[in-house]
């Protein structure tokens, strides 16, 4: 009981320092970060929404596991990645294939889509996104987790290892495998052939 109270104290003080006064504030402050990592991992809006909410529920329910020496954001990152890997594990145990992306990114407006871009250019952008998404889908869950943490979330390899509870050596191996697989998947698509 004591320990729990102290752990929570650490969180409370961090939350207070950061200006949070309610759990809702914590959610509001971290929802985008958690959602976008979930999106990197799952590849589609529906699963990302689901995963991100699961993360906050887990966070809420396991405050006692929060270690004051970690940042709240890294802790949430860790929960996100582990919840993702867990869900993939469970799905593969049930021998269910990972569902096809229900929403292709192209169905939603691109964040940086320039309104002045020509239709050709926009179509091409959509094609690239599609290629990339399909390539990412070919990665194993662990490869994907390592890749998106390093590539899209700027975590150094040592931190990725800590987050996934694996050695830095294993992280490098997984990253290498991910890159090779992406290379293979993207072989049909060469940036230099797009006349850029």
């Amino acid at each position: 009981m004591r320990l729990m109270a102290r752990d929570e104290e650490a969180l409370v003080s961090e939350a207070v320092v950061a200006g949070f006064s309610t759990f809702r504030d914590v959610v509001e402050a971290h929802k985008k970060q958690v959602y976008y990592l979930a999106l990197d991992l799952t590849g589609n809006h529906h699963d990302a929404e689901d995963l991100s909410q699961e993360v906050f529920i887990k966070a809420y329910q396991s405050m006692k596991d929060f270690r004051g020496d970690a940042k709240l954001s890294s802790w949430l990152h860790r929960i996100t990645v582990n919840a993702f890997l867990d869900s993939k594990r469970k799905r593969s145990l049930r021998l269910l294939p990972f569902p096809e992306s229900r929403e292709r990114p192209a169905e939603l407006p691109f964040r940086d889509e320039r309104p002045d871009a020509s239709p050709d250019r926009r179509l091409e952008t959509a094609m690239i996104q599609r290629h990339i998404d399909e390539a990412l889908e070919k990665l194993t869950p662990r490869e994907r987790a390592v890749f998106v943490l390093r590539h899209y979330n700027d975590l150094i390899l040592r931190d990725v290892g800590q987050m996934l509870n694996i050695s830095e050596g294993t992280v490098k191996t997984l990253l290498f495998r991910a890159l090779r697989r992406l290379q293979k998947e993207l072989r049909s698509y060469r940036p230099e052939e797009r006349g850029q």
């Binding site: 309610t22 691109f110 964040r111 590539h151 940036p191």
Partner: protein, 269 residues
């Protein structure tokens, strides 16, 4: 540097996590090895391509409704396992926004529930039935402090009852002896506490102590052997009245009041 060694450095080189002599050797090898440099160039191209990925931004409405969606799921998750409430104060954070509505609803449920189900023994009648222990009321402590302590002990007791596993029912009679004793003590304290919670702003606390008293009396009155259905009644009473939630909310309010003047945190646990 051999080709295999060079290749093993591709990931760290690609993400610029290499430096010093190692980087120098790596670059030297690439400069002199067509195979490795071509291979590395291809991976660099992969990296650049992956850079072109754009996350799709959900519509603003998604963010606007995010909390509401989550709160719904959180609340049902919480209901499913009251035991997983990590700590009253943290729990209260979640419920802060929903507190007013919940309290109102809980109040209505309390009324309906007890009007329909219970011939409720009053504090006066039970003091005859129960050997009531003298209430430990340290005069020095403020009524807020004592209420805080009172709520904490009640909460522990109720959580124990609510989480009493079905497999333990065989030994329930023996185990409940302690809970019954605690309940009797708390009931006895309630009378004093209610008397002390006299000011208008303590009305809500007084009400909560009264609500609690009803449940505590039920526990105190449980009869050892044939009370398995009875304990279910207590559990559903705890559940339906939302009494644990009310305790949480009051603990949070009191903690906030306590924090406010001094800025010093004092943990109830």
């Amino acid at each position: 540097m051999r080709c295999t060694e060079c290749e093993s450095l591709f990931p760290v080189a690609l993400y610029e996590e290499i430096g010093g002599e190692e980087l120098q050797h790596f670059q030297e090898h690439l400069a002199g090895c067509l195979k490795c440099s071509a291979d590395y160039a291809e991976l660099l191209a992969v990296r650049r391509t992956m850079d072109e990925r754009r996350r799709t931004e959900p519509p603003e409405a998604f963010w606007d409704q995010y909390w509401e969606q989550l709160a719904g799921r959180l609340e049902s998750a919480e209901r499913a396992s009251v035991s997983s409430m990590p700590h009253p104060r943290w729990s209260s954070w979640l419920f802060r926004s929903a507190a007013a509505a919940s309290l109102m609803a809980a109040g209505i449920v309390v009324g309906l529930y007890y009007a329909r189900h219970q011939p409720i023994p009053t504090a006066a009648t039970t003091s005859e039935q129960q050997p009531v222990a003298p209430a430990p009321t340290p005069r020095a402590a403020s009524s807020d402090d004592r209420t805080m302590d009172y709520l904490r002990r009640s909460e522990v007791l109720l959580l124990g009852i609510v989480n009493h596993g079905a497999s333990e029912t065989a030994s329930i009679g023996i185990e409940l002896a302690r809970e019954k004793k605690v309940s009797r003590d708390l009931v006895a304290e309630a009378a004093v506490l209610k008397h002390d919670l006299a000011s208008p702003e303590q009305r809500r606390l007084r009400q909560l102590v009264s609500d609690l008293e009803i449940i505590l009396l039920q526990i105190a009155n449980l009869e050892t052997q044939q009370d398995l259905p009875q304990i279910e009644l207590v559990r559903s009473g705890v559940d339906r009245t939302g009494i644990l939630l009310k305790i949480n909310v009051e603990q949070m309010r009191m903690a906030d009041r306590k924090d406010a003047p001094s800025g010093q945190e004092s943990q109830p646990l």
